[in-house]
């Protein structure tokens, strides 16, 4: 029976008074340019389980997603996609398609390439950026790559015509395995890149080799995270509308990154950015997959300008699996040096990341490479990371990008070590965790962890799960032939990444109180289910005293909202919410300033409440907020000297703890906050069928202060379910010819309600000292915990059989295969 231990049974550790100490010690740590105070008061409704504003339209079917829009005269497109993973395009015959009823136009990659500039894609560790065109031009590099497009009166006719396009391919050798692709002489995915090794990153602390030479124990493993994708239930959808009279372009996109998309459309079309408006209306989930710019997304604006009509495309699920960004798929050759007692001394890692064909960003490589020491006090570290181009779909953002690979590999390794050294998996972790008093903590790569109480989280999880009792039960069950396993992990999630020209490190909100006294927040970031319309309003209500119900949040539309980067890396609570806090503070100061002049009381002695500003010492001395609003707009002679009329402010927040360039040893901090979760998974493995049943999943989570604990809980629950899918069911499998074998929900199985296990979730609150709200990122740590905890649990369950789990997902056939291999090995021995 599924049940969440929430609400009344919640267990909170409130930690106060630690901030000033943290900031003091921070000033002594290297590379830090901070001199700020974050001790701001936080009032309700911040921290309350306010029900979400946006939910009303979703339960009534009145949400507006891109596919719901249908301007008059809209034409629909369908794409001709490559049936080969790697081939030269010899010829494309589109004549039959052009002659089909209802077909308006057909374009090939060559037709388009003459009229657009390619998008240059790469990242800071890229060796050679490649050019990305909206449609493949001379050759295709992955199965499903778009190479021609049909524009027709409706989607049925467009799809009919796609079938009539004949493509003549000259097949090229296909390379799908990244380790093969690295070898000299491997088929080149991008000839002009010179090699399939397209990214390289190296980092090493001094004396690392000596640490390994002198160590009492060294353990080496090869661990791979498998390829998966995000699968929001709304696939990608775009609608471009070029207005000839105004020479302007409006693009509705299911994007998590509207402002960046605007710039990219301007670039490739050589069109003035000021004449482009991108609107992300309601977006049906992203989980990273909609934050990047896609080929189809760049093509539609071109088609609309060319044909003078609105152009719409809604992706099919099969297209989404083949063309949406993929994630994970890293091979780690990792070594750890230890003392016999389990004290960790150093880690060396070689990462081989399969970036797919048109590699676009290196976040996955960097987010793994910088965090392979995880939550442990390890200062000796070396890494060589390689991003490899293969004939697979492009790799990109996916919930927990790179960090999932890092935490999975590390938490697997720690378990393997514990087994080898005959230590309890909790004890070895407790022995090596970074202690609470060491925060803010710099790991060897320079990453600066804001705060954490790993020991407390692990111990509390063990207590909740009844760990000692579980071990006893396990022993009894084994005697009865039941293979029960207990898997432990503590996963940490770097959030709010800030890279130069990529993700900014800042966000902003414009706040207006209109003459009626209602407030509007214009957010620089869009939302795809995160609940910003609610949480931003909570913050503004808290600061200004404007009732929550009279605050409207506008987001996702580049015209009214200030510039900002995409919603990803859990940055909303770390950088966007604080910007609303700043805007609220500026507005509050203005309101108090106006009141101060009228009441003859200094602002410091005033308070806002119940629609009034009043003197703290004499509440009779008061003025209605509405009176202040009327003054600001209509009686400006009553404003304090030098104060501007109106009530409109813009708040910016800059993550204060980011390094944009490395120090002389290559160290830098690129993420602003570090939430984490301790987990204990209990599983039963049926050795006859290979089925895994999650008996119970217990987790203690710390994302600092929660602006709306209800929203955090729901996100965490969803994140956990996505992790169950990643660990047990979901896999993007390619055959040797580069054909994707799992491209529908029939063969790529998302967890349903039937797979919800018994779950216990609690929170520890260790405030983030680097934001005024004390919040860290939320919503991703859930997904991080499952793959290592479940694999650790399955290996634990099957330890009597000598099974080693090094491949995932743990589908029944894989589990049976692992058992068979272990049995064959023991028979051989």
């Amino acid at each position: 029976m599924a049940s969440w231990r929430l609400g009344a049974s919640r267990f909170l550790f409130l930690v106060g008074g630690g901030r000033s100490k943290n900031l003091r010690s921070l000033r002594n740590t290297k590379n830090t340019k901070l001199n700020i105070t974050m001790d701001f008061p936080i009032h309700p409704p911040i921290g309350e389980r306010v029900r979400r504003k946006e939910t009303l339209r979703f339960v009534t079917g009145t949400g507006r997603f891109v596919d719901d829009l249908l301007p008059p005269g809209t034409l629909h497109v369908s794409f001709v996609r490559s049936s080969c993973a790697h081939a030269r395009i010899k010829a494309i015959d589109v004549e039959a398609a052009r002659a089909m009823p209802g077909v308006c136009a057909v374009f090939t990659g060559k037709d388009i390439a003459q009229h657009v500039k390619p998008l240059r894609v790469g990242g800071s560790s890229v060796l050679r950026p490649v050019k990305l065109y909206p449609l493949a031009v001379d050759k295709v590099r992955y199965f499903g790559e778009p190479l021609a497009v049909v524009v027709a009166d409706n989607r049925y006719l467009a799809e009919d015509a796609v079938d009539m396009v004949a493509v003549d391919y000259e097949p090229l050798p296909v390379v799908v395995d990244p380790e093969t692709a690295m070898e000299p002489g491997a088929p080149a995915v991008h000839e002009d890149a010179g090699s399939n090794i397209v990214y390289k990153y190296h980092f090493a602390t001094d004396g690392i080799d000596k640490v390994f030479q002198d160590a009492e124990v060294v353990i080496k493993e090869r661990i791979r995270s498998h390829r998966i994708t995000a699968c929001p239930i709304e696939p990608r959808a775009y609608l471009a509308h070029y207005n000839k009279e105004e020479d302007s372009l409006t693009m509705w996109s299911a994007t998590a990154n509207p402002h960046s998309l605007k710039g990219r459309i301007a670039d490739i079309l050589s069109f003035p950015e000021g004449k482009i408006r991108v609107i992300a209306p309601d977006v049906g989930g992203s989980f990273g997959v909609k934050i990047q710019t896609y080929q189809e997304e760049l093509l539609l604006p071109y088609l609309s300008r060319e044909l003078g009509r609105p152009i719409k495309w809604c992706e099919t699920r099969v297209e989404h699996m083949r063309n949406g960004r993929h994630g994970r798929d890293q091979i780690h050759y990792i070594e750890i040096a230890l003392k016999k007692d389990g004290t960790m001394l150093g880690i060396k890692d070689k990462i081989i990341a399969d970036m797919g064909s048109t590699y676009t960003v290196d976040h996955s490589i960097m987010a793994a490479a910088l965090y392979m020491t995880g939550v442990y006090q390890i200062q000796n570290y070396a890494v060589d990371a390689f991003g490899i181009s293969t004939n697979k779909t492009t790799h990109g953002s996916l919930r927990d990008i790179g960090k999932a690979d890092a935490s999975y590999v590390l938490e697997r390794l720690v378990d393997i070590v514990a087994r080898e050294l005959k230590l309890d998996p909790i004890d070895i972790r407790l022995k090596n965790f970074i202690p609470a008093e060491a925060f803010p903590y710099r790991n060897p790569t320079g990453a600066l962890y804001d705060s954490g109480q790993y020991h407390l989280a692990m111990k509390r999880t063990a207590e909740m799960a009844g760990y000692d009792r579980l071990r006893k039960e396990q022993a009894d069950l084994r005697k009865r032939g039941i293979y029960r396993g207990i898997g432990v992990a503590l996963v940490m999630e770097p959030t709010s990444s800030s890279r130069i020209h990529a993700t900014g490190g800042y966000a902003s909100c414009r706040l207006r109180i209109d003459p009626s006294g209602a407030a509007t927040v214009f957010s620089s970031m869009g939302e795809q289910g995160q609940g910003h319309e609610t949480t931003l309003a909570q913050i503004v209500a808290s600061q200004t005293g404007i009732p929550f119900d009279r605050i409207t949040v506008i987001h996702g539309d580049t015209l009214p909202t200030p510039y900002g980067f995409g919603t990803g890396s859990s940055r909303s609570s770390v950088v966007l919410m604080p910007s609303a806090w700043v805007a609220g503070k500026l507005m509050r100061d203005k309101i108090l300033g106006i009141a101060a002049r009228q009441l003859g009381v200094v602002p410091e002695k005033l308070e806002i409440g119940d629609g009034k500003v009043f003197a703290k010492e004499d509440q009779e001395q008061s003025i209605a907020v509405m009176e202040i609003v009327r003054t600001a707009y209509g009686a400006i002679h009553l404003l304090p000297e030098n104060m501007e009329p109106g009530l409109e402010v813009t708040g910016y927040f800059v993550n204060p703890n980011i390094d944009y360039t490395p120090d002389d040893k290559g160290r830098m901090n690129t993420f602003s906050s570090y939430p984490y979760a301790a987990v204990i998974a209990v599983v039963d493995v049926d050795v006859e069928t290979g089925m895994i049943k999650i008996v119970k999943y217990t987790t203690v989570h710390d994302c600092g202060n929660m602006i709306n604990p209800q929203i955090v809980d729901t996100q965490q629950q969803g994140s956990i379910m996505q992790g169950i899918g990643a660990a047990l069911y979901e896999e993007l499998r390619y055959d040797d010819e580069g054909q994707l074998l799992s491209s529908t929900f029939m063969d790529y199985r998302l967890p349903s309600v039937e797979e919800v296990p018994e779950l216990a979730l609690e929170h520890i609150i260790t405030p983030n000292p680097f934001t005024p709200l004390g919040a860290k990122g939320a919503g991703e740590t859930g997904m991080l915990g499952l793959p290592p905890a479940l694999c650790n649990a399955v290996e634990d369950a099957l330890s009597p059989l000598g099974v080693k789990v090094r491949e995932t997902p743990l589908t029944p056939d894989r589990v049976l295969d692992l058992i068979e291999k272990a049995q064959a090995k023991s028979a051989h021995a």
Binding site: R51, D67, L70, G285, G718, F745
Partner: protein
Amino acid sequence: MLKTISLTVNGKAYSGEVEPRTLLAHFLRDSLRLTGTHLGCVVGRCGACTILWNGTPVKSCMVFAVQAAGDEIVTVEGLAQDQRLHPLQEAFWKNDAVECGYCTPGMLMSAYGLLSKGKKPTEEQIKKAISGNLCRCTGYSNIVAAIKEAAVNFTK
């Protein structure tokens, strides 16, 4: 070759011209402009397009519009009556059973089909009823809690 069909949607009579191959989901969305019914996979696996067809929840991407000629359809737009939310909608809101909102209409219709049977369902029956509806955001628990709560208040 177009065919004219007439059907009742949310208690209102509609007629329209469709190709025989037009999916009911597309007819509802594109012709009748009832866009609350969503499409997530168009192969009957995600459940976002679930509607009630003569009282039974079905995935409207798996039905041709012509098959529903003369029949009675209820979509998410038909749940609220006289500007008042249906208890299921209230319960989804209260229990935070919604994040991005894309799967929500389908979830609601599957739950509505279950509760319309008039009997208070068990947790297992609730799970079975929505087992064909995928949600990637919420992790389902709040949805199950919402349906349970609505079942207590529900009168058809």
